[in-house]
Symmetry: C2
Subunit: 280 residues, 2 copies
């Protein structure tokens, strides 16, 4: 069967997921946990990573190429597992595609809006996500009485990729970034970049137990499940395809991706292939 205006896709079709690099695998991990029967096609733009320091035009052009690539798999839905791409490109992507596309920002915004008690929410993210003002936009649509404080944290991604997950340097940098949010008395902090859940313990220690940390990766998987259920697209048959259940593609060399990726998801990245994404 087919669904609405989605061509060639049925409930057994894969979910497309993309990110600027490896961070989006924190979203893949949540989808694997919450929807174990789903097939996933992941694309990480490792040749052009990072997106968080780049402009809206560039991030949108890159994201459009990736959506065109994922569409070749007849995916039933696409998850933009990157906060920067969700902030800058989601609207344009939705205009151009007939496939339902969900980003990580809206689910994160909704969860934060539900969780806050004092109406003061902090967002930490890339420069691009913060300057887009997207979390502010979504949250104030849900609740006008909330104040959102954004803080760009450009060193977190390189520190995570260098493996300094629990380290005095990461502590020091986190303290510098977070001090102003602590002083503003926020009670909820959105981890607005897919790398940040990997330093969750450092962030939690600095913010203190009274502050709720919201992980949009988790919230996005929940929203994805609801979307698939609502559209009768959730797969209830185990695909039993072995290594073909999860397919991974990257724009740079596959080998390098596999090392970092395997440290995030324990299912094992069974195969990763290189794609010349500029041709899409």
């Amino acid at each position: 069967m087919t669904f609405g205006n989605v061509c060639n896709a049925d409930e057994g079709s894969p979910i497309g997921v993309f990110d600027s690099g490896v961070g989006g695998l924190t979203v893949v991990k949540e989808i694997m946990h919450q929807m174990p029967n789903e097939k996933i096609v992941y694309f990480g733009d490792t040749a052009r990573v990072p997106y968080g320091s780049k402009s809206k035009d560039t991030v949108t052009r890159f994201s459009q190429q990736i959506v065109r690539f994922l569409e070749t798999f007849d995916v039933k839905t696409i998850v933009v597992a990157c906060n920067t791409a969700s902030a800058y490109a989601l609207e344009e992507l939705e205009k151009e595609s007939s496939i339902p596309i969900i980003g990580v920002v809206k689910p994160g915004a909704k969860a934060a809006s539900d969780v806050t008690r004092n109406g003061k929410i902090g967002v930490i993210a890339t420069e691009a996500t913060i300057s887009s003002g997207i979390y502010n936009e979504y949250i104030t649509k849900l609740n006008k009485d909330v104040t959102i404080y954004g803080k760009a944290c450009p060193l977190f991604v390189p520190l995570v990729e260098e493996g300094l997950l629990e380290d005095p340097v990461t502590d020091e940098i986190a303290r510098r970034y977070l001090t102003e949010l602590i002083d503003l008395d926020i009670d909820t902090l959105i981890l607005g970049c897919t790398h940040y859940p990997l330093i969750r313990s450092t962030l939690g220690k600095i913010m203190g137990k009274e502050v709720s940390l919201v992980n949009p990766a988790y919230e996005t998987a929940l929203e994805l499940k609801e979307l698939l259920q609502d559209r009768n697209m959730l797969n209830d048959r185990h695909p039993a395809l072995g290594e073909n259940q999860y397919q991974f593609f990257v724009s740079d060399k596959a080998e390098k991706f596999k090392t970092f990726a395997n440290s995030i998801i324990k299912y094992g990245i069974l195969s990763a292939k290189t794609v010349n994404i500029e041709q899409y």
Copy 2:
């Protein structure tokens, strides 16, 4: 007049310079100082920066596109003002172009080989440059009795771009990266990434006065001048073109580039334009 097999170029033609982003401006700055009459066309690949964590194939493909772009200006020579691109792509670029192309690695290697007294040279650079083994290759061609110790320093570029040029965090990270080179008793350290001269004072403080720091940006400008003199291509007439003497192009938004660029070169980035480099 024209030179050798270089079509349409004469001594008044511009010099093409490229880098993955803004770091190559440390080379531009040296060229401006040493050859004030030369016109320069600079390209910074700010949409796809950084190169230092990416593969040889990807860096080579990106560099080939940039050379094709620079050739449209009838440049008389091209300077690969990026250690990673020099390490990975120079050989391929030379095969495909009739224009003389020089990288930053060979001049840096030559200077280090001249400077060392105890024959122990350290190289700090990106992961890509270190894993290419290129400094080792060039230096041992010049002097077999020298030992080269490479150390990848992936956090230096983000720290520089965050503006932490003199900061306890940069000190701490530099100490971690450099300790093993100090223990190996090197007397010469090559700053094998165009961003590193910007934290020269931190590096010098940690290495101590006995260790000579080699800046390939400076050495490359010297080699470029020699090359132009040898080929009778050095411009001895002041171009008197005002703002057209220096032209800057980037693959991402121009505005952002200008802010960082103006902090490196004080001549002022008078104009910067965006180019869709993937089309070349």
